[in-house]
């Protein structure tokens, strides 16, 4: 009889509601999707709201085009001359990290080109087509703003180049993911999945199974593949399909090549998968950009330079190049006609 009770108890527990609390909100001008598994509902909501407040703070403090943000004020002092100014310890760390990553990417990850990003109309909540002014673009490229123009001395900051205008749009969401992971662990949460505008970091797993993420198809309203995101891993995609405008039948996406000042062409999407580290989130945001901006024959080198072993590139024709390591983990839902394993 005890055996019977056990069976019924097992059956009943499998019918029970999963302890999953999922919240979706809008921060950083995009969707934020937080899932917490296996915690009491009250605690899950409390931790979620804490994370969202942190994200809101980051969003306002490092906003690239609201003139009262800490970042905008720093940009104003850069434009005014070489007076060293104080910045928050957090921004100081961010600048140092962004400088290192920019060097690592040979300048292809360049958050100093806020001027160019603004000219292309991507420093707005809406991406309507803009008039393309080649003269302005050329001038901005020739001014050559780069992260190494920023000098950090005795915790004060100045720029040797007035054209440096920081836009952390390709960094801050990743930073927020690393921060979220640390905060979740501090709060004692064992299992969570945080998605900020498509960049995702995992903690623990979803019940008996790892967290599973879908990878958006760049041209169809459905995922093209799924993969298991193990604890501490992060995934990020740079695509030409979320933030772009079309003009005269041509697509201009938000990924600007700092070398010629024009939006990157030739690829639909680059996805990178990062193993656990203190900076997995930042790397998931940053590392896809240099790969996106590199010619197909140099993609693998660009990935290696960023410490990325797992990547996937969808080119303009929809053909896929995937690294061997990622190919072993991916499950295709809409298998592309052509896949090259590299």
């Amino acid at each position: 009889m005890r055996f019977l009770v056990l069976i019924i108890a097992l059956m009943l527990s499998s019918c029970g509601k999963e302890p999953l609390v999922q919240t979706k909100s809008y921060v950083f001008g995009t969707l934020v999707d937080i899932s917490i598994y296996g915690e009491a509902e009250d605690k899950a909501h409390e931790v979620t709201s804490h994370l969202l407040q942190d994200f809101q703070r980051l969003h306002h403090q490092y906003h690239a085009w609201q003139s009262d943000s800490e970042l905008s004020k720093l940009n104003q002092t850069f434009a005014a001359g070489k007076t060293p100014v104080d910045v928050s310890p957090e921004l100081l760390q961010m600048l140092k990290q962004a400088q290192t990553l920019s060097t690592q990417s040979q300048g292809l990850f360049n958050p100093a080109i806020g001027g160019l990003i603004g000219t292309w109309g991507f420093q707005r909540d809406e991406f309507t087509p803009v008039a393309i002014n080649d003269a302005v673009i050329q001038k901005l490229v020739q001014a050559n703003p780069k992260m190494s123009d920023i000098v950090i001395k005795n915790d004060k900051v100045y720029s040797t180049n007035k054209a440096v205008k920081l836009d952390l749009g390709g960094y801050a969401k990743g930073y927020a993911l690393d921060m979220a992971l640390a905060e979740l662990q501090k709060q004692g949460v064992k299992n969570a999945l945080v998605n900020i505008g498509g960049n995702i970091i995992a903690l623990g797993q979803h019940g008996e199974k790892p967290w599973r993420v879908g990878i958006q198809h760049p041209r169809q309203p459905k995922p093209m593949a799924t993969l298991d995101l193990l604890s501490g891993w992060a995934i990020g995609t740079s695509g030409d399909y979320q933030r772009y405008f079309e003009r005269d039948g041509k697509r201009y996406c938000h990924i600007i090549d700092p070398r010629d000042g024009y939006p990157a062409q030739g690829k639909q999407a680059v996805t990178v998968l990062l193993p656990p580290s203190l900076h997995a989130g930042v790397l998931s945001d940053v590392a896809s950009k240099p790969i996106f901006l590199t010619t197909p024959d140099q993609q693998a080198n660009a990935a290696r330079a960023m410490g990325v072993a797992q990547f996937l590139v969808v080119d303009a024709e929809g053909s896929v190049t995937i690294s061997k390591a990622l190919n072993a983990q991916i499950h295709w839902l809409a298998k592309p006609a052509k896949i090259t394993v590299q």
């Binding site: 055996f3 979706k24 995009t30 999945l193 998605n195 498509g198 958006q216 459905k222 995922p223």
Partner: protein
């Protein structure tokens, strides 16, 4: 054959088999009945669930968002953005959603659609 059939007291094994069968049928019922449910459309406005509709109907829904009215249409088991006040209309260009797990988002008007029902193939979407 001279049967001496006689009602005997059921053995513990019989009870177990009968009970187990009942529980098993109940278990199958909850699983199968669940997946036979009509596929649903969940609409979110901002960070709240606006409404969840069955896809087994033909109707249109007007939603007042921050920048205007978005029209969602449900027809023949599918759903789509029909009209949107946003400038680029990416949401409208997404077209019909028909499969479980598909989603379309209109960031400017903060309206998102997600098709529900059955087992979700993933926990979150990377884009």
């Amino acid at each position: 054959m001279a049967s001496t059939s006689k009602w005997t007291k059921p053995l513990i094994g019989d009870v177990l088999v009968i009970l187990f069968s009942l529980v098993f049928v109940g278990y199958l019922f909850t699983i199968l009945w669940h997946s036979e449910q009509a596929t649903k459309l969940q609409i979110r406005l901002g960070d709240k669930i606006y409404a969840t509709y069955s896809l087994a109907q033909n109707r249109s829904i007007d939603i007042q968002g921050p920048i205007g009215i978005t029209r969602i249409v449900i027809a023949n088991g599918k759903a789509r953005f029909a009209h949107s006040p946003c400038p680029n209309k990416y949401c409208v260009h997404q077209g019909w959603l028909s499969h479980q797990g598909q989603a379309a988002i209109c960031l400017p008007n903060q309206v998102s659609l997600e098709l529900l029902g059955g087992e979700k193939p993933f926990d979150s979407l990377n884009y």
